[in-house]
Structures are given as C-alpha cells and as structure tokens.
Assembly symmetry: C2
Homo-oligomer: 192 residues x 2
C-alpha cells in the first residue's frame, strides 16, 4: 500500500461524503484494509486531509521547478508553460483540487498555516513571472501584478468546478482555451 | 423583520459555522428573535439555504436585465457592462457568494435542480453574448463560446476567494482588473 494510494482514496471519500461526515473507517473500507493499517500512516482524520493538501503542493512545486528551469525563455513563454501544465494538473486531479479548495478551512490553525505558507510561495512565483513580463514589456504594467496573478489563478483553477472528463468540451481544448484567454488577458493595451 | 435580513444573517452563520454544523437556533440568536419567529418564514434549515441561493439568482437576474436592455450597444460593450456589474456584485456580497458556491451540493435534489436551472439561464445569457461578439468579429471565433463563457465566469467569481474589503487591493481596481483581463482575454488573434 503506497502513501499516494491512501491519499487518493481519502480524497474520493472526502469529496463524496464531505470531509466533516467522512470517517477513517470509510477510507479503510474503500481501500479494503483494516482501519489499524491506516493508523500506521496517520494518527487522525485531519492528518489525512493535511497530507493530501501537502501532496497537492508537492505536485505543484515539481511543476513550478520545471518552469523555473526554463532559463532561455522570456517571461511570457514561461507563463505559457506554467498555465499549460497547471491547467493539465487541475483537469487530471479534479477530486484532489476540489477537496483542497473546499476543505482548507477545516484544518486546525498550525496545519492551515503550513499550507497557506506553501501557497504563498507558489503565488509569489507567479507574481514574479508577471513582474518580469511587465519589465520586458510583454505584460500590462498598468495593472497590479498580484491582481493579474489572481486572474491567472482563477482561470486555471476554476475548471475543477465545471469540467467533466466525459463531457462535450475536451481537456486539450480547455488547456488551449485557458492559455489563449490568459496570454491575451495579461497583454498590454495596444498603443494607438 | 424583512426576508432579506433573515437571509443575510443566515449567510453569515452558514459561512462562519459551516452549513452542516449551523442551526436555525443560531440564526435566530444572531437576529435576536425567537426561533419560532423564523419558522414563520421557513420550515427547515434547508429552506434558508435554498431561499438564500434563490435570492442570489434574483439579484443576478436584475443585473442581467440591465445588460439585456442595452439595445444600442454591441456585444463587447454589453459584455463589459456585464463583467463590471457582476464583479461589483461579487465584491459586495462575499459571504453570500461563498455560501452559494460552497453549499450548493448540500441542497436536496429538487431544490438543487431549481438552482441549476436558474444558473443555466444565466450561463446561456453570457454564451449568447459571446456568440454575438464572435459574429460581430470582436470576440475570438476560433474558441468554443461556452469555454470562453466559463473563463469569464472564473474571473468574475474567483475574487470571493481572496478579496478582503480592507486589503491592499481596492474593489474598484479589482473591477477594472477583471474588465481588462476579460476584454483582452476574449479578443480574436491579431491578424499578422
């Protein structure tokens, strides 16, 4: 039994039952193991939620590192890569992302602080990309960089609310749609 | 005691306690009235949530009607007006919007269907605006109109997740930022 399998199953149970109503027993049943075996990994239900949210940030951090490694590309090219891989991550991890956003407030204060600190690092990475784009002239410098970053986040995260893998709109089209919307959305005003 | 006051207070209690844990008694206490007086308005806690979500749609419908009444303006001008007034609504009603998005799934099936049907009407209005803009050449017709509409919704709704009335970024700047991001985001590719 691997960690990731336990956390994926916990995500499914939390998404289906709601975190407040879900029990560690249900997660164990779904995995087909004894509850005692889960307590080998975690001590409380909150540990499951916390580890799940940490895992999301670990996944995202790896993707950010890929973008940060693009040393020869300018800010707009890096932003495009960022948007593409983050949107793909959202679409491939709908359950985990919904548990993340719907249950962050359920964490106790110390755990919540850890997650918010990791989120801040992620957010600052994107703000920094926007600032570089503004300095390079490819991103509108008349708007606040953090406000632009928030609009970028809204576009790449929101699909978890409506996207359905077997729906009419295909994942690849969602990714391209988000890339187009964001790259044009951040552009400077045309000089006339 | 007016309906709206009861619903605003219910929204605050639901947002603070979580809908599942909140009680009609708490809403009554917060209003400074007897629980029996609330039952004059509603029969169950779910009635409160349902009426609250219906109220959001009534508010939004009024704003849509304003945009629909702009007969002399083209699709892009109407879209701008739509984005402006909807973003203002989000920022002025953070608690209600968060209760709306965080608790829609708590409604029983018949009530949920009513809300989803109202949402569909709203969504179709925006898709129709996008289709008109595509026909007029002001909105990119290489992208699916509904996908563009979803990107628009993400931008105007997401601020409920991060905007704080006394924060560094002012409401007027958020509205302008969303307008700029969306109007550029939907634009056709520059012909080169």
């Amino acid at each position: 039994m691997r960690d990731r399998e336990v956390l994926n199953t916990a995500a499914e149970v939390f998404a289906r039952q709601g975190y407040a109503a879900a029990t560690v027993q249900q997660v164990a049943d779904e995995l087909g193991i004894l509850k005692g075996s889960i307590y080998y990994y975690i001590k409380t239900k909150e540990d499951l939620l916390f580890r799940l949210l940490e895992e999301v940030h670990e996944d995202l951090d790896k993707r950010i590192a890929e973008v940060a490694a693009l040393e020869d590309e300018d800010a707009l090219e890096r932003l495009e890569r960022y948007v593409r891989i983050q949107t793909e991550y959202t679409l491939a991890n709908l359950t985990k992302i919904s548990v993340y956003y719907d249950n962050l407030d359920q964490l106790s204060q110390p755990n919540r602080k850890v997650i918010l600190a990791r989120r801040k690092v992620h957010e600052d990475f994107v703000v920094d990309l926007v600032l570089r784009g503004q300095a390079e002239g490819s991103i509108d410098d008349q708007r606040d960089a953090r406000l632009i970053a928030y609009s970028i986040f809204s576009t790449i995260i929101w699909p978890y609310r409506w996207y359905r893998p077997r729906g009419r709109i295909k994942a690849a089209d969602v990714v391209e749609g988000c890339v187009e919307f964001i790259l044009r959305g951040v552009a400077p005003a045309r000089r006339s």
